[in-house]
């Protein structure tokens, strides 16, 4: 009997050998130290996020997934208060002041903080972090690219350490949102020693002052962080913080349900529905500074007519989209700023769902028989929620009032190219887009998107122009009084809503679901889209 199992010829032998080799290969995979699940209190938090981080150098990534990891590995100079909306709190900077002309900001830094590699945190490290990403002559500039550097910090003319714990930023023009922008993780302070040592490999390891440091990173599989015992806010309670990339939203839900992970971000809307009704899961949902809209080409008929644009806004049922398509993960809106943002105008009645009124307005504008148009829709995209579902729904609603909409679907990369060309050059009529306001400040929403100074090549893709709005925005930019600024922005909002340059749809809500074994998880009230504060979480 045994004889039958001996390879009879070379072919069978080869086959057997191949099989054995494959097994050996699996066994002898490059050194992975065995890691048993920790038994100490504090536990291990396993986060299922949307895609693997791309880099651990905070100035490099442009994707939100990397930022979930980075905000736990690094600190910034300022941060948003964990309790009061819109309030800046000290982080690595303890106090700050600005000159009366708004061009010079001086920050005092925290004493006694160390980087994870043991080197001291000081003003030189701050200057280093900013100069390497802004100054093309800096020796470390070549380890970029740093795509967000000039967008958020382009107004910085010079960063200088004026004392061991004192740093001065000199701006080229007054920028009311400057302090807000110091909360963005792109400006997190990196260890100069680590950058100098690792050079091109720095993005694979990182090195900051944050609550966690890298233990192991298997790209595409898992990113394992370990607590920083010397963290200046106290050692985190967790034993391990693990990020597991799961690209499909439905699979993230499955992973949570099967216990593969104990926390997920952005489950599929349907998944949210399932999990919401189940008491073994803890759901955190919160509207954040984000806006989703349909852009219109105001230089093209019939979108040049304000009556038509208003009609479009009355034609769609935002509530149904938010409930039926987004399953409550979006907050319907008629204005660009989100509730909680400076300048959000609670007095605006907004656009209700009124197809009859829409038809009446269309008739008034001379389009009683409707018209045809093309609608550009990306298949995915950061911050786009459910782009195809929402686009299809909008198409149906507009169809119901006589507007024949043809959808053109593109992958995200191609879509961005077309949008980037501007509505005229790319011959766009309607397109959907969204905007995540990482710096919170309304100047970084309204100016780039709706000021006439931002016509293409800027981001005001649809050529909206209203001189009153422009004036209000400019005045708000000059002022340093937050109350006055709020008033300016609120008036600008009211005008924008009246002019209806967009079809306003919703603000995304951050959705984070965890098993009930996870305690202490709180979303930051100002910017709920990032997983701040995981250092306060315990599992078990």
């Amino acid at each position: 009997m045994v004889r039958n199992w001996i390879p009879r010829n070379r072919f069978q032998a080869a086959l057997t050998a191949l099989f054995v080799l494959a097994l050996l290969g699996a066994l002898l995979r490059p050194a992975a130290i065995s890691r048993a699940m920790p038994l100490r209190a504090g536990g291990a938090l396993v986060v299922g996020y949307e895609a693997d981080a791309t880099s651990l150098d905070p100035a490099q990534p442009t994707d939100i997934n990397s930022m979930h990891v980075l905000v736990n590995m690094y600190d910034t100079l300022l941060q948003w208060s964990p309790s009061v909306v819109g309030q800046l709190a000290p982080d690595l900077a303890t106090s700050w002041s600005s000159s009366s002309n708004g061009l010079v900001y001086t920050l005092q830094l925290r004493h006694g903080v160390q980087f994870q590699d043991g080197t001291p945190f000081n003003a030189d490290a701050v200057a280093f972090s900013f100069n390497r990403m802004l100054d093309s002559h800096n020796p470390y500039f070549k380890y970029g690219p740093f795509p967000f550097a000039s967008f958020f910090y382009g107004e910085i003319a010079a960063t200088k350490a004026i004392g061991p714990y004192s740093v001065r930023f000199t701006l080229s023009k007054p920028t009311a949102s400057f302090l807000d922008s110091l909360t963005i993780v792109t400006s997190a302070i990196v260890s100069p020693a680590a950058v100098a040592k690792d050079k091109a490999a720095f993005p694979l390891h990182g090195g900051g002052t944050g609550a966690f440091s890298l233990q192991q990173w298997q790209r595409g599989v898992q990113l394992v962080l370990q607590p920083n015992a010397h963290y200046w806010q106290g050692r985190p309670a967790l034993n391990k913080l693990i990020f597991v990339p799961i690209v499909q939203p439905d699979q993230r839900v499955t992973a949570l349900q099967t216990g593969t992970v104990n926390l997920i971000v952005n489950p599929s809307p349907v998944g949210t529905l399932q999990l919401r009704s189940n008491a073994t899961y803890h759901l955190l949902v919160q509207t954040g500074p984000h806006v989703w809209w349909v852009g219109l080409n105001l230089r093209q008929k019939p979108f040049d007519n304000v009556l038509v644009r208003r009609a479009l806004n009355y034609a769609i049922d935002r509530n149904a989209i938010a409930q039926g398509i987004l399953y409550g993960t979006g907050a319907p809106t008629s204005q660009p700023l989100a509730p909680g943002q400076l300048g959000y105008n609670t007095q605006i009645p907004g656009y209700s769902y009124d197809p009859a009124k829409a038809k009446a307005l269309l008739a008034q504008a001379g389009y009683a028989h409707g018209f045809s148009t093309t609608f550009l829709v990306p298949t995915s995209g950061s911050g786009m929620q459910d782009p195809v579902g929402m686009g299809t729904a909008i198409q149906r609603y507009l169809g119901a009032v006589g507007i024949n909409v043809k959808i053109e679907e593109l992958d995200w990369g191609t879509f961005l190219s077309r949008i980037g060309e501007g509505a005229a050059k790319a011959n766009l009529s309607m397109w959907e887009l969204s905007w995540m306001d990482s710096a919170i400040d309304p100047a970084l929403v309204l100016n780039p998107l709706l000021a006439s100074s931002s016509f293409p090549p800027g981001f005001n893709t649809g050529f909206y122009k209203n001189t009153t709005v422009d004036q209000l925005l400019a005045q708000a930019e000059q002022s340093t009084d937050q109350h006055k600024r709020a008033a300016f922005y609120a008036r600008a909002e009211a005008q924008i809503v009246q002019d209806a340059p967009w079809i306003f749809v919703d603000h995304a809500k951050a959705v984070v679901v965890s098993s009930t074994a996870v305690h202490g998880l709180v979303l930051n009230p100002t910017f709920p889209f990032l997983l701040f504060g995981l250092r306060n979480v315990t599992v078990g």
């Binding site: 290969g25 690219p145 795509p147 091109a200 595409g220 690209v247 990369g413 980037g420």
Partner: protein, 308 residues
Amino acid sequence: MLLVPVLLGVSIVVFVALHLAPGDPAEVLLGALATPTEVASLRHQLGLDQPWPVQYLKWISQVLQGNLGTSITLHESVRSLVGARLLSTLILTIPAFLLATVCGMAAGIASARWRGSPFAAIVNVGAFTLVSMPVYWLGLILVIVFSLRLGILPSGGMYPAGGEESLGSLLPHLIMPCLALAAAPAAIIAQVTRSAVIDELGQEYVRTARAKGVGLWRSLLAHATRNALVPIVTTLGLEINYIIGGDVLVETIFSWPGIGQMLVQAVFSRDYPIVLGSTLALAIIFVLVNLVIDGLYGYLDPRITVRS
């Protein structure tokens, strides 16, 4: 050697297609924040503003020195990324291929041996159905049944998160993707084997052997197999292409960190170095496998090497 021109050809086609495609890596990186000045500056930093032939020649000279460049989106050397991912893909595809071959051949031989019986009928119908199923659907069904409903197998990934990386922890994660990938090729191999074996069993020399009293199994294994192997080996060659194609879909469904998944993402984000490096790696494997199969032919049937 044919290897080099084919690989060159492959790389040129990929390069041209990538650059002809609208959208470029700088735009995707910058996302909605991409103004022309930002994009132009980034393109310059990435070396994308040079004419195509120059970029291509630069890439080729790098490759010949063993350097596949650096990924634009992942900031790591393409060689290490491709190496790690390729290993993961091989861990998935080699067992799938072996499973398909072994099971397929066994089922085919058995259904030839017991031709006409209900067993053979079941095998044939089963094989037929498996061939007709899209591999991504099969994968989804497996996840629903074994992960969600029965809860006995993990729904994705290669190893348990935060857990050990060993053969023991790999196997539960490997089972479903492997099955999904192997199903259709196994079915095809079964059909091919069955037909080939039936033909051989009808041949003169087998009938002679049986007349002399040699048992059916013995004549099958000792004599028929080698001749029957020719069409089977052909099919194996075709199955490689099929498995690599299905691999991309399976990796997506099961979040398997393999080269197929990385490749698809890289095409969408226009990460040229990764697309070029991965395609090259896959093309090399494909051509090598075909060379092996050609060699097997020469061994199995000496008549095939020379035609007059």
